[in-house]
Amino acid sequence: MSTTAAQKGGLGAAIWDYLTTVDHKKIAHLYLVAGGLFFLIGGLEAMLIRIQLMKPDNNFLAAGLYNEMITMHGTTMIFLAAMPLIFALMNAVVPLQIGARDVAFPFLNSLGFWLFLFGGLMLNVSWFTGGAPDAGWTNYAPLSTTSPGHGVDYYVMGLQISGAGTLIGGINFLVTIVNMRAPGMTYMRMPLFTWSTLVTSTLILFAFPALTVGLFLMMFDRMFGAAFFDVAKGGNVIIWEHLFWIFGHPEVYILILPLFGAFSDIFSTFSKKRLFGYSAMVFATVLIGFLGFMVWAHHMFTVGMGPIANSIFAVATMAIAVPTGIKIFNWLFTMWGGQIRMTSAMLWSVAFIPSFTIGGMTGVMLAAAAADFQYHDTYFVVGHFHYVIVGGVVFGIFAALHYWWPKMFGKVLNEKLGKLAFWPFFIGFHLTFFIQHFLGLMGMPRRYWVFLEGQGLEAGNMISTIGAFLMAIGSVIFLINVVYTAVKEKKADGDPWDGRTLEWTMASPPPHYNFVQTPLVRGLDPLWVEKTEGKEGMTPAEPLGDIHMPNASILPFTMSIGLFIAGFGFIYQTDDKTWLVASVIGMAITFGSMLTRSLKDDLGHHIHKEELEEDIKKGVGK
């Protein structure tokens, strides 16, 4: 309905449509585009880093600029690329998988996106206003509190704003999954992607506030003269490290768990088998989420916490390997005895297993607290976390995009180009990062602007840079595939992969109300259950009737832009107090929008039975 309106009104109407949309499918598009853009920016930064480290004593980037580059690469990739891409997938898929017509809070869903986007933009504006943050993505005090210029201020404000968006998104998905499941969709029938979204959202809920507090303390120190990290006034710089990692470690699982879920769905679909050990998989996911909160200090073994704390955190960290191992074996045995179809989505998933296993193994090695005295802050760690984040998260995002692309955009990504993108990326990935483990052990600390000649580090760095170029080539081919598919490929039908779960029971892309009639779920893999009984689609759980849908609104956009303006005010008031005017105006816009939202009733609208019958005739409903 809204798409046709957009077509009538031209580009302006289409833009307005996306600015005001509360439809989870369109918000997924927004997250995908924004996250994809930041992924490219972060990737570009990575390439510049690798060019700088191509040879010893290189002077391609200046020292200060290099530190800005590594800081922004890490921050961008974690907060502005991986997180939104995951939210894109969650938005596109979760409501469909549980048989819901939208998320619990469509308005907040939109607010979450705009907050993230403006936070991300804020962070990147710093490139043009005198320098980006330069204290590393971990932003340790007092390097960060004493960093000259406004770079770190941008880090603080940008992450504060986008972090609020993430927190809102997390709560939204929690409630959606708990309250909005279709009849018969019990917890133990939910697809693994939905399960992992549930666990991830819980982690977001309990992890992000710690970062919020850390950022506030940092903001107060830098902008309002507080003394949290000023040792001359009794401050303690280790507090930042604790707060950052109490957030930061769960963050790692926030990133990887949804993709574990996606892999589970993909392995199952393309092996034509139900997931092996479903309940063990659910249990393992929950356990990983829980343990994820108990291990933050393993990032701080060299801080000087003493042998008792180090040992406890070491053993707790090792424990996480057990549920992760359970998952690996369950995936292998899902494929065992199956009919494996090596599509692009499956190719990325299959490549994930050895890559992530290596990342997990180096993780256990790092957990050995004493040995971390050698590994810590070296390229060994850089190798390790790229193995889990690229080999796990990025491979997972590629796999999931190939898998759900038809559901999001109505077309299957070209398979030939999909595989062509995979190989250079896969080979390049191992070239880039495998050698880095050795570079670390050979004495190369991380975040080094230059390495010196004669320390035996030349060859490894060269190999690593070559690998990075291969990864870039793979990414570009993927982009070409997106364009090629949009232009050349035919429209896909509702169930292109012989799917098993509810998102494959409707047209691709789905109508904006998702389900004409809410389906009745009769088991795990509900669509597969119906297929084995020879049925075409789902049995409806309700008669055809009016559907209640939320109204579009521009307020999320204005709320976010208000905070964006206020952020600049806070940053520059340290130079000139008149900037506080910007803060006041910005906060007025935000609170004004909130007040408007509060005062004006918004009850949504109904789609009437007659319209639905029209749609069914046109074939939209199926």
Partner: protein
């Protein structure tokens, strides 16, 4: 459920805050939100406990705090929690006027509390030159207590907005969840204060 049924229900159920799906969602989401808020305050408490002896040779907790005013503030906030319970009791009995009255009392108590807190801060600043940047302890104190004060302010504005907005039309299934979660928020603020009273003031004075 049609819009008419939501705004002008023919029959008010006993739990009007959870009668609609939107209401149920709000109710659950707010509990989750409070879970996140708990981590937020836990982090602030952790920071405060780590820094409360880092006075940089300046004012110490024992030196600064007086328990009389703080005890009075505690009583005000605890009472306001009770009055908001009365308000919710009347909401469940569909007595809008009484609910508004009790909410008004809650707001007055909250305002009195906030007034005391502002007085307390000004007192510390003027009498003791104990400012935000005096020491790490000062920063941690003002941040923890100030965050709570900010929550009180936000809660008051929220409740007042709801009261004014719905003054004319009374209770319905659309605004009942809003009133209910506002009162939940108020209780949460109250609980946090109990911890502040204990950890900051009592332990500061005794320990």
């Amino acid at each position: 459920m049609s819009h008419e049924d939501v705004l002008n229900p023919k029959h008010m159920p006993h739990d009007p805050e959870k009668a609609t799906l939107e209401g149920k969602n709000k109710f659950l989401a707010f509990w989750f939100f409070l879970g996140g808020e708990t981590v937020l305050f836990a982090s602030l408490f952790g920071t405060y406990i780590a820094l409360n002896s880092s006075t940089a040779g300046e004012n110490t907790p024992e030196h600064l705090f007086g328990l009389e005013l703080v005890f009075l503030m505690t009583m005000m906030l605890l009472t306001s929690s009770l009055t908001s319970v009365y308000a919710m009791y009347h909401m469940k009995n569909h007595d809008f006027r009484k609910m508004q009255t009790w909410l008004a009392i809650t707001v007055l108590l909250g305002l009195a509390f906030l007034g005391c807190e502002i007085y307390e801060f000004l007192h510390y600043i003027h009498e003791y030159e104990f400012t935000f940047g005096s020491s790490a302890f000062a920063s941690a104190f003002y941040t923890l207590v100030g965050f709570h004060g900010g929550h009180v302010l936000f809660g008051l504005s929220w409740i007042v907005t709801l009261m004014i907005r719905n003054q004319k039309r009374g209770l319905n299934l659309y605004n009942a969840p809003k009133f209910y979660i506002a009162s939940l928020y108020w209780h949460f603020i109250d609980v946090v204060w109990v911890f502040i009273f204990t950890v900051v003031y009592l332990m500061g004075k005794v320990g």
